[in-house]
Amino acid sequence: MRPERRFGATGSLGASVGVLVLGLAAAWASGRVLDLRAGDLAPGAGGWQLAGDFFGRALRPALAFEGAYDGGRLGVVLQAGRAAVTTVAFAAAAVSLSLVGGLVMGFLGSSAWWPGRRAAAVTVPVRLLAAAMRSVHELIWAVLLLAAFGTDRLVAVLAIAIPYAGTLAKVFAEMIDEAPRDAAGALAAAGASPLQGFAVGLLPRAVPDMTAYAFYRFECALRSAAVLGFFGFPTLGYYLSASFENLHYGEVWTYLYALFVLVLAVDAWSGRLRREVTR
């Protein structure tokens, strides 16, 4: 037994050190390519002014609108609440759609779903399609779909759902294939059909992990939906960028805190779920 294995290390230390050295060299080369200079890290005079104004409002987020628009004493808070609800709606619609696509493609792409040898004829094309879908970022999908269809709320939902379905398909296929085969094997030995063995023996072993992962993707979709606001959809990003461009920094902080609370709440929810599932 090699020494590093004895204490429960997972993996090769030699390869890791090599990778570390290569990574540092690549980072140095990247700095040269990008012409990154430490001097450019300091903001100019205008930048300092802006940083002071902006961070000065961190502990004093706006409650009412800072501009001429009068929305009442809690105008911004209500607006942030509405935007947060819209963000959740966009994320939920996108994730539910991507779950349909991800489940179908995940089954078709898993080798356990296909009894027999010719599985590759289906699994390989499905996996390639999933790879193509997830290799384009949701914001780039948004630009493409906006160019093709024009502005519509469904465009934002599709922009998130397409790459997420590709990711879910890959992860679901791996979870199905890596689930323990003991029960399915026993059922097959007792005379069950492959479909019965899959549905009763294999799938229940994979479903808890798949559920936990779906919740994690919902958490990611919240961030994606918030950012899609920068493209004009009425989620948190829209109000955040508009307030920033109007120099209403107090409002920016209100929206940032709303985003923060939203992500934190779903993070805690999906984290607890993951712990329950893996327990």
Binding site: G11, L20, A26, L41, A214
Partner: protein, 304 residues
Amino acid sequence: MSARAAEVARLWRTRPRRPFVAWSVRALGLIFAASWLLGGFQASGWLTPRRQANLARFLHEIRPWPVRDTAWDDGAVRAWMADLWRLHGGGALMATLAVSVAAIVLAAAVGALAAPLAARTFACPEPFVRGGRPPRWTSRAAWTGVGAAVRFGLVVLRAIPEYVWAFLLLALLGPSAWPMVLALAVHNAGILGKLGAEVVENTGTAAPGALRALGASRRQIAFVGLVPLGLPRWLLYVFYRWETCVREAAVLGMLGMSSLGFWIVDARARNRYDEMLFYVAAGALLVLAGDLVSAFVRRAVRRA
């Protein structure tokens, strides 16, 4: 038969249950249903005549312009692609890759420094040793405070999306590659710090505990006891996050910095949909290549 049915019923009644998971799934299902019913995402009126005309124009104009109204000609398309590559594509691709690498190395460095302080087994009065004298309450309170503060800081870093970080940093620092690099680094430092803390907590306590019992300092434990044990697993996480960094580095250019995203938005603004598709495809190929490299490295690191 009825004895068997009763046995089945008994097994069903005593099956392991997870009420939290069951209620979570129901709640998420309700959120899904409500968002479709009330969110205004209906597909009715989705393909109006105007939309159809727009779509037809889009599908016509994504054909490379040298062959837009003629038969497909490989040579002409290849020359067109070579031109785009020379003009902006190659440089933008390099910039995207460089941003992702610089960002992930910064994120990994910050995350590695924060990880032990965020780990409950390390940020405590007497790390890795069980029993012994009970620690003084001041020491316990101090370490609890440090751990909680670092964990909260990491949550703040990762709760704000990269795109929002880049938007804010661009305004503060002005145009250079730094806002992109820092935005990716800040968000991923939050994630890698948390994952690193889990690596520290899940590392066996035998080796660091023995070092501590022999009188090693906290810093000595970290370098001699934790780094060799945790480094491979930690690198797996770093490379997983690097795959995301490549995707995000392309996108952040949309804010006006010179990665692929800038040229995608620029082509869109000039209504050059063929060029837009070229840059999107270049980005997708870069992402796929990054995924392959990452998978290769992860396999090399995992092999013991």
